[in-house]
Symmetry: C2
Subunit: 242 residues, 2 copies
């Protein structure tokens, strides 16, 4: 059986009572036709899973009570702050869905020289993230941020210690960088849109402490580069634990 779960953010939990509304209400009570007394699994986006028994179903919302709380889920290690050059929304859909399954902590669409400037409805991408986390069974939801300018991104990440920028022509492999850094618990990563970063942007990023790394000799599409980069970061860092 598919272990289906619903998303209930912490503000909708009060003294063991939870409220289902909006999309989660619709899905739970209208699509899956859950009834009073049914028990469903819930996650809060911050690492907690609950079993919830449905108490009352109204026209636009439902109430339930927590009958079981699970221990906090271990978050994905290291914490990743990810900035991706804004590309067309259909490709961004895939990226947001996949990075949410993989467990990034923060996602920023970046407005860079070669990025597709128009469109980015934060709410829509938050929904995609929720659907992805529901499906993958995790209890953590990434924070989806509004699009930011290149300069703003550099400001936001100014104080981060380990910052990487994906660059195909860099001679430094991700492997080598990760190997040289010990006790990594947080990584900031920026990956270009189709067409990559401009030379100026790479220069500026370097000046702001970003280390250029290559993840492939091939020219990978943004969607693919993002997953390869994350898969490698998660596996290389967790090696320290082995």
């Amino acid at each position: 059986m598919h272990d289906f779960q619903f998303y209930i953010p912490p503000e909708k939990v009060r003294n063991k009572l939870v409220t289902f509304d909006g999309e989660e209400y619709r899905h739970c009570c209208r699509v899956l036709r859950k009834n009073r007394g049914d028990v469903v699994k819930v996650f809060d986006g911050y690492g907690f899973h609950y079993n919830v028994r449905i108490l009352n179903i109204y026209d636009n919302y439902a109430e339930g009570e927590i009958i079981k709380s699970y221990p906090k889920e271990k978050s994905v290690f290291p914490e990743v702050i990810l900035g991706v050059g804004k590309i067309k929304n259909s490709a961004l859909d895939t990226i947001v869905s996949q990075v949410s399954s993989l467990g990034v902590a923060h996602f920023y669409p970046l407005l860079t020289r070669h990025s597709v400037k128009r469109g980015f409805k934060k709410g829509r991408f938050e929904r995609i993230a929720i659907e992805s986390v529901k499906q993958c069974g995790s209890a953590y939801l990434p924070k989806i941020h509004d699009k930011v300018s290149f300069d703003n991104w550099l400001n936001i990440t100014q104080d981060e210690k380990l910052k990487l920028i994906a660059e195909q022509v860099s001679s430094m492999s991700l492997l080598k960088v990760m190997d040289e850094m010990k006790n990594i618990d947080k990584v900031t990563v920026m990956i270009g849109p189709e067409g990559g970063f401009s030379d100026d942007e790479i220069k500026t990023a370097k000046g702001n402490g970003f280390i250029p790394v290559n993840i492939s000799k091939r020219r990978l599409r943004t969607e693919l580069a993002v997953v390869v980069m994350l898969a490698n970061i998660y596996s290389l860092v967790s090696m320290e634990d082995v």
Copy 2:
């Protein structure tokens, strides 16, 4: 400038003369309107890149001559034979495109208990592979195979030495397996469709020498699991070279 390349298989190269036909002819001469005398980049799918000058353009084909041959491109290491549970074609499009960019050697769609049986036009997926390799700049084309039954797949891979099956509940991490194997130059990998492999299939695969490995504690979609698995195999094995 985008370093565009065309695909010309070895049988269309004779004594430095190459023939563009079909889709490559259409793209080169009709879409991009290349003319006599223009020089274009070509790959043969087996590791070679050429510069080709166009000599003659006819109604349905064009001829060119090789004016420069590049040294054979280093193939991706290790060689990967990949079997993926057949899923719906739109998701399979993404997988074929992405694994072609990453450089797998062989791709097999597997007919398993939970796979989507219908549809798989080999020619269509060969085109997707070609487009992906054109875009990523490599000179290697994966071999796209017809769909095979689970039993046939086990026969085909019978003599392979290192064989992995992705299994979410396995306690063995990919990391550990790769670490224990030395001098890996070839890996056979099987990844389930949506819904995974059945218990019987996992048991049978184990009986045939497949080692169950987990790549994530989360339930990843097939498309994502494939890329995470490959990214890790390529980065973990190439560590031996560092």
